[in-house]
Amino acid sequence: MSHAAIALRDINFTWPGQRTPTLVLDRFEVQAHEQVFVSGPSGSGKSTLLALIGGINNAQAGSVEILGQSMQALAGSGRDRFRVDHIGFIFQQFNLIPYLSILDNVLLPCRFSAYRRERALAQGADLLAAAQSLLRSLDLAPTLWTRAVTQLSIGQQQRVAAARALIGRPEIVVADEPTSALDSDRQQGFLDLIQHECEQTGASLVFVSHDQRLAQRFDRRIALDEINRCAHVEENA
């Protein structure tokens, strides 16, 4: 029997030092190979949800299972290892380490995870080849590879970040507002690439965005402010 890629049940999470819980939800599931659009204005608990999925924080109540592994059962360093082994992250912006080359940025997960390194080696002749083929399929020409990270446009930087999230074929890719710094033409193009690559590698995609125009491209859409029973939506957000 196959586990759901992500399964959260009866979650109740309160940030340390706060009185009221930030995230209370009965059920949040993402199946293997599934691509899910998660929407929600700020304050709806997005960061908290991602922190739980990434194993950064543990919920005080409820269960978080990633690929069948209970996050609560792992110690802090175990969750750190589990995260890099199985989840690729793409953030809104400032994804890249400015002092590393583009290829070194892409290969970062392989440095911290033997599992990702082995799976990346299965993708290409060596790590470098794996990274290069990913960059190529994300429309980054070899002439860009030698540039300093800071010389890339935001769109190019996001594609490098996507390559880093995808290298070593993690089972789950989490994208946190990855398109919000891009103009609308490029948003579509970026989404195409991400979705295509996730299909290729068979990764589940959790795509978090407040931009409903992107939502229609997903089979399943989850509005976090609707399922989170304690969403504090900021009025001026």
Partner: protein
Amino acid sequence: MSFLFRLAARSAWNRRLTLALMMLAIALSSAMLLGIERVRHEVRASFSQSVSGTDLVVGARTSPIQLMLYAIFRIGGATNNMGWDSAQKLAKNPAVAWTIPLSLGDSHRGFPVLATNGDYFRHFHYGDGQALQLAQGQAFNDIFDTVLGAEVAQRLHYKLGDHIVLSHGMGGMHLTDHADKPFVITGILARTGTPVDRTVHIGLDAMEAIHLDWQGGARIPGLSIKAELVKKFDLTPKTVTAVLVGLHNRAAVFGLQRDIADDTSEPLMAVLPGVALDELWQVVGIGENALLVVSGMVVIVGLAGLVSAILASLGERRRELAVLRSVGARPFDIFLLLALEGLAVMLAGVLLGVILLTLALCALAPMLSAQFGVTLHPSFPAVGELQLLLWTIIAGFVASLLPGLRAYRLSLADGLTPRL
């Protein structure tokens, strides 16, 4: 792990200007710490080596420290002299190998004048038992001959054959000169790094001669004895300030010391130079410790700069650290990254400090030696200095754990999305 090292190196290179400035601050403060330690050590060494081989210093009763101050360091004046007959009696004591009579009181342009005899050049030793060496010329033969310490000759640009005039008394601007009886420079001593360098040496008979027509510290009105005529007088000194004594057998030193103290013919005292120097150093040593405290504070200020600079850079680095967290870096890795950087800056800073100090010493040593009589040699740090540096590095490492801990906490709290 090795990847973390490379990551730390790349990250540091990215912020090389800031880190270079921090390193420079550390280098300057550790160079200062080490420099002060060197000077301190050197001053102490040259202090304790200002006399050697002398078993007793004998003079009129006063405090041992005061006797050392004027007999060896030519600082201050003697309140009482000892009789020449006592000095003679001492010289004839069978336990005594040699004596050096010393008579002080006059000066030449701020440098003390020491009247003594040929035994001074034979028996006076300093440092590790080095004898005095004449750099030029010879010891005194004739009555108005003088031998200069190295620094006197250098500062006043004197050469052999020059004539100099002594002044009555020490210090002060308005001294009466012994202008009627000039001296001729017959010898210049090699540098010793001791008070000898600052001394003008004349014969005991010359001391008598220039004071023939003096009484009670002033010229006798109407009396003037020409220099050519002084030999017609008895120039045997009546008193001396102190006598340095060397023994045949050092074991006799306490016995002789007691005999001198018990002698009823004249109230005298005998001091063991080593003991008195230690006592004296305890007085001077307060200033020495103050120096060390000051340089310690310089190091602390340097470290505080290091810590605050790393802490300030944490704000900018929060995103970088969050990205590293997202690709699998543990909070401990983040901590290590910062601690490693602090340690590296500290190590490089201290190393640079040692190099800076060595270069500075190479450039400044001749000037320091000429101007202040402090001889500093550029050398590999001694064991004590290495310990000092090690403690500095340890302190720096501990200080750099502070930003490391803060980064650790931040990365725990921030998770993947730094709340800026």
